[in-house]
Amino acid sequence: MTTSASDEGASSRQLDAQLRLGLYAPGCLPGYHLPYYAAADGGEFTRRGLDVELSDPEGGLDTLRALGQGRLDACITSVAHYLRALQEDGSVAARFALMIARRTHLAAFVVDTGDILAGSPTSLADLDGARLLGDERSSFTREYLTVMRAAGVSPAEIVGAPHGHDLRMLLRGDGDVIVEFLEMLPRFASVARRQDVAIRALPFFEVTPDVYGSGLLISDRLLDESPDVAALLISALRDAVFATRDNPRARVPALRERLRGVTEDRAIAAWRLSEQLIFDENGAMGPMTESGWNSTRAHFERVNGGSTPAIRMLSADEFV
């Protein structure tokens, strides 16, 4: 990586750096990733001299390993994947720099009959006795069972459903609930609508508001060798998120350039859902704190067992 300082105004430092930023599940969370494509395509990254290559390398845990091995400089990862990588590998050569989704992305999806009196669920607490469609060994299933226990609802029967087959089984009435990212609602709703069925998402954050969702992890190598670049990346990312809050539609063309199958309406609908995870009631991004991480780790351990090594994060005044 080559960096050369140039002065473009006293307040905006600018460098000339090439970065590889991994994005987990960009097509399935199109709204959540809306800020970054426009940022890389003439927006907040470009204006700071950051030439950012966006990729979905191998998904999940492999993204974190790519980061540790130097094939990526940074990634936007789910917190659950980060904690799993810590558990499995003992350490990840990276530090958490910015919490973006300060709440978990997971939600329960149910058929919405619109008839509350007849028991159509409107909150997780209504899912007592509901049959979960899922794979017994999957982490989504374990998350669901843990969250339901926290909601005081007795564990539900699990109806075996392969990933990818569960929506179909839900619509057929083989079970009552599936678990997925909240941002999948527009996709699921459009499938259901073709069968004249409405789908409702019940976000897990109703029960676990203090469990982190996802954010920016930066490699130790970039932080140690080019702290200026790391600082620019963090501030550009933050600005991109706020610019998207202010005008999401302006970000859609750059996203569609890379993710051609995503329609504008679906990207915007998914972003509106992501906003519930990112911003607090004042429209601010929540701070990343020790206590937030402690409750997130405690939840992760309840779900997955074992203990997690200490997480590594940048403190609020580092690099910004």
Partner: protein
């Protein structure tokens, strides 16, 4: 028999596992493999499975078949 379906909305690893799961769980399907670059899913199945059943499974997983 081998058949390939075009699914332009597949863009990431999560899409890949969803579509592969949707297709490979059908009876009579031996294997399903997504190529994210080409945005296709290659399906090896016996002659008890109609193409329309495979398309239906992909669509009910949330993806349009082109």
């Amino acid at each position: 028999m081998n058949e390939t379906f075009s699914v332009p909305e597949m863009t990431c690893g999560h899409c890949k596992s969803t579509v592969e799961g949707a297709v490979s769980s059908l009876g009579g399907v031996r294997s399903a493999e997504v190529d994210l670059e080409a945005k296709t899913v290659a399906v090896d199945h016996d002659d008890t499975v109609e193409g329309s059943v495979i398309v239906g499974a992909i669509e009910e997983a949330g993806y349009q078949v082109a």
